[in-house]
């Protein structure tokens, strides 16, 4: 069973029913570790050594966060800046994370249709995630398509629970799959594997 590390970054988690539902659905999975960054590092003092150990112990990494200004919340960036050290994560012939799978699980208020060429945002969601993708590639990790929950403002309680269930199915599927299975990379969104 593949071990999955969820790096969860949300500065106002207590106000997010969506992220609560997502986490509630996966926290019982035996192969999943949840690392709540804002809870562990309220003063932005990321414990780099601890994080490196955690990353090394897992096969699949998940960045779970709300989509703030086309990126993640500030602490997630701080985490990247500190943990992906030169000489450890990349460079100088050292690639500690080589071959690990990594992807984003994001929630956004924006509408699904608005994320297309010629539409409101004039780019796809995958386009906006390019910095994450390149960071992963520099560290020789394999970047998978995102799992995306759009239009969170409009969702009913039933829909929120449904996304939670999908997320749980997704992590269960990834936990049990051969990570070389091409279906994991072949879709635009990982959502399509569990709907």
């Amino acid at each position: 069973m593949n071990k999955i590390l969820v790096l969860f970054a949300h500065p106002a988690f207590e106000r997010s029913t969506m992220h609560k539902s997502l986490l509630d659905h996966i926290k019982q999975l035996p192969n999943v570790t949840i690392n709540d960054l804002y809870e562990n590092y309220p003063d932005f003092e990321v414990d780099v050594e601890r994080e490196k150990k955690l990353l090394s112990a897992h096969d699949v990494i998940v960045w779970q966060h709300p989509f703030f200004w086309y990126s993640g919340p500030a602490l997630l960036k701080q985490w990247q800046d500190l943990v992906f050290e030169y000489g450890w994560a990349y460079g100088n012939e050292n690639y500690a994370l080589e071959g690990k799978r990594i992807f984003n699980v994001i929630t956004s208020g924006g509408e699904l249709e608005a994320f297309q060429k010629k539409c409101f945002h004039n780019s796809t969601i995958r386009d906006f995630l390019l910095p994450f993708e390149r960071t992963a590639e520099i560290c020789k990790m394999i970047y998978l398509p995102p799992f995306w929950v759009p239009e969170t403002e409009k969702l009913s309680n039933a829909a929120i629970a449904e996304y939670g269930r999908q997320y749980k199915d997704l992590l269960t599927l990834i936990g049990d799959s051969d990570l070389n299975d091409p279906k994991l990379s072949a879709t635009t969104l990982l959502n399509s594997l569990v709907t």
């Binding site: 003063d43 003092e45 800046d81 500190l82 030169y86 990349y90 460079g91 960071t135 520099i138």
Partner: protein
């Protein structure tokens, strides 16, 4: 009674009490029944240690009732009454009226005249606060709709005792009330209108004196920081008021109750409670024992049929009335059964009222004796009735379908207690308060308590290292205690008290310096706050900033220093030997310097090379 007799009596009473009360509690019968049983054992029908002379003890012990009403008054905070106003007035009043009517009818069916029947109706409509609250809290039902409604009914009964005390003498058939006739009061012989005026004037005086005089007086006493004098003062207040009331021909209990209500909002509430409580407990215990000793078993044996039918019919009537009321307020079926059966017994107030009726010549001795037995049996049956309800009735009701009533909030104690409200504690308190987190504050400095109360803080005067005071401040229901007392010895004392009596509390403890922190760590504390550490580091950050360091860097270095220092503290706390200690300190200082110098957050940071080959 000569002193020798007195001590001998004391030995008998205390011996049976320490034997029977723990046993009764263990059997789930509650302490009231334990005292009653103990009384029966020393009474004329078994060991015969106390007999006729029990009368004088009873009068002494009755003072326990006065103290109990004072404490009930103290507990009656206006906010709590307001929150539960609907249940108290609706449920409580209806319960009392309907039950009184039904029991009166029952008594008349048993052949009593209407006057006696009505007196019995009022007396037997009471339920037992002690037994019900204990059972409900043991079963974890106190915060459920059933528990809250039961609480409201009991609260109403507590208050209703006062007017009942006033009404009962009107039924005195002997013309002149026996008890009052013995000791002449000041107002005897005065015309009726003057009596009335004096009574009203006295009540007004209690309220005014309570508000204006007693609080400053308590403050002065508190300043002496002599506990026994504070206790003496507490007792003096109650006794003086009780005496004043008897002198003007009113019930001492009423006066004590009033005084309690007047002081309920004062900062000395918890301290008064914890001072009076043991006296009340013991005197009431003796009271219940004398009641037990006075049960006439010949009489009970002669009328065993009547006793059994009384008990069963009372339980049926009392729970029947409550079932009906529960129905009316749309309580769910299951909660309604729990609510109704929990209150189906007759309570300890009945003993008080019965012995009062006897003294006043309202009820004949035989009736009182019989009723005392009936009341005691109904109390003893409560745990069994609850058990039968749980095992036989509730399972047959099927699953709950009716929507549950939205629970009222009852006396929700604060989850946080802050001990010590000086500069340290008040900052913590202000921060929590600004986030709408209410705390209960305890402080020993009466001047400061005064000022802070004016500022709107819920501060109480008292020595927080005493277990009873903590209990009254809600330590059982709280989840956190923040210990910010300035005196380190007092802090250590309080830590011990909490560890012993309230181990469930998270303790957050102020520490003067690292040496005290070592002791606290060795005492097993997890949350220790050295009082000057954070401030000193902030000074360090600003100093570095003035020297030209970037603020973010200085801040980060301070954070690193802080983290390391806390870890080192843990290591050092285990060392006892002076020399080893100094060595370790030197080592850790060097280690820290190394860590700080090698800290390279954001230092080696270059753009990742775009093409990696």
């Amino acid at each position: 009674m000569n002193p020798h007799d007195f001590l001998f009596q004391a030995i008998i009473f205390l011996t049976v009490a320490v034997i029977f009360v723990p046993v009764a509690k263990k059997l789930g019968l509650g302490s009231v029944l334990g005292y009653l049983l103990a009384g029966v054992v020393i009474g004329p029908f078994i060991l015969g240690f106390v007999g006729e002379e029990g009368e004088s003890i009873l009068q002494f012990a009755e003072f326990g009732v006065v103290l109990m009403l004072f404490l009930i008054g103290l507990e009656l905070q206006p906010e709590l009454l307001w929150k539960l106003r609907k249940s108290i007035l609706g449920l409580g009043l209806m319960q009392l009226i309907l039950t009184t009517v039904c029991v009166t009818a029952l008594a008349m069916a048993f052949g009593f005249g209407w006057e006696h029947a009505l007196v019995l109706g009022m007396i037997l409509s009471m339920s037992s606060t002690a037994i019900v609250l204990q059972i409900l809290s043991e079963k974890g039902l106190l915060k459920t709709p059933a528990g809250q409604s039961a609480f409201a009914v009991l609260l109403f009964q507590d208050v209703a005792v006062i007017p009942i005390f006033a009404i009962l003498p009107l039924f005195s058939t002997s013309g002149k009330a026996a008890g009052v006739a013995k000791n002449l009061t000041w107002v005897d012989g005065e015309p009726g209108w003057l009596k009335g005026l004096i009574v009203l004037g006295s009540i007004a005086a209690i309220i005014i004196v309570g508000r204006l005089l007693i609080r400053p007086l308590l403050r002065i006493i508190a300043k002496t920081e002599m506990r026994e004098i504070f206790t003496a003062m507490s007792l003096l207040i109650v006794i003086a008021i009780a005496e004043l009331m008897s002198q003007i021909g009113l019930s001492p209990a009423l006066g004590a109750f009033l005084a309690g209500v007047v002081l309920a909002n004062s900062e000395y509430r918890h301290e008064l409670e914890s001072d009076i409580e043991p006296f009340k407990g013991l005197l009431l215990g003796i009271f219940f024992m004398t009641i037990g000793a006075s049960i006439n078993f010949h009489l009970v044996a002669d009328q065993i049929g009547a006793v059994i039918s009384w008990v069963l019919l009372l339980i049926i009537i009392k729970s029947g009335v409550l079932l009906l009321l529960g129905r009316i307020i749309k309580m769910g079926v299951k909660p309604n059964f729990i609510f109704s059966f929990s209150l189906s017994q007759v309570g300890e107030f009945a003993f008080v009222l019965l012995s009062f009726s006897l003294q006043q010549g309202i009820l004949p001795p035989d009736t009182v004796s019989l009723m005392i037995a009936i009341v005691a049996i109904s109390m003893g049956l409560t745990p069994i009735v609850m058990l039968l309800n749980e095992k036989l009735i509730l399972p047959r009701l099927g699953t709950e379908t009716k929507p549950q009533r939205e629970p009222d909030v009852i006396d929700e104690r604060n989850k946080v207690i802050i001990a010590g409200f000086g500069h340290f504690g008040s900052t913590v308190g202000r921060f929590l308060k600004s986030n709408k987190i209410d705390a209960t504050y305890l402080d020993i400095d009466s001047d400061r308590v005064d000022v802070l109360r004016k500022m709107g803080f819920n501060v109480f005067y008292g020595d927080a290292s005493r277990a009873e005071l903590l209990e009254f401040a809600g330590a059982k229901e709280a989840s956190i205690i923040i210990i910010t007392i300035g005196d380190s010895e007092k802090r250590a004392e309080l830590v011990e008290t909490v560890k012993k009596h309230f181990p469930h509390l998270h303790m957050l403890v102020r520490s003067a310096n690292r040496y005290e922190a070592y002791d606290q760590m060795n005492a097993g504390l997890l949350h220790i706050y050295r009082e000057s550490l954070d401030t000193s580091l902030r000074v360090g950050i600003d100093a570095m900033s003035l020297l030209g360091y970037r603020k973010y860097t200085a801040r980060h270095l301070a954070n690193t220093f802080f983290k390391y220092d806390e870890q080192a503290l843990k290591k050092l706390s285990a060392i006892r030997d002076q020399e080893v200690y100094i060595n370790e300190i030197r080592k850790s200082t060097e280690e820290l310097e190394l860590i700080m110098q090698s800290d390279n957050q954001f230092i080696i940071r270059s753009e990742p090379e775009p093409d990696i080959s």
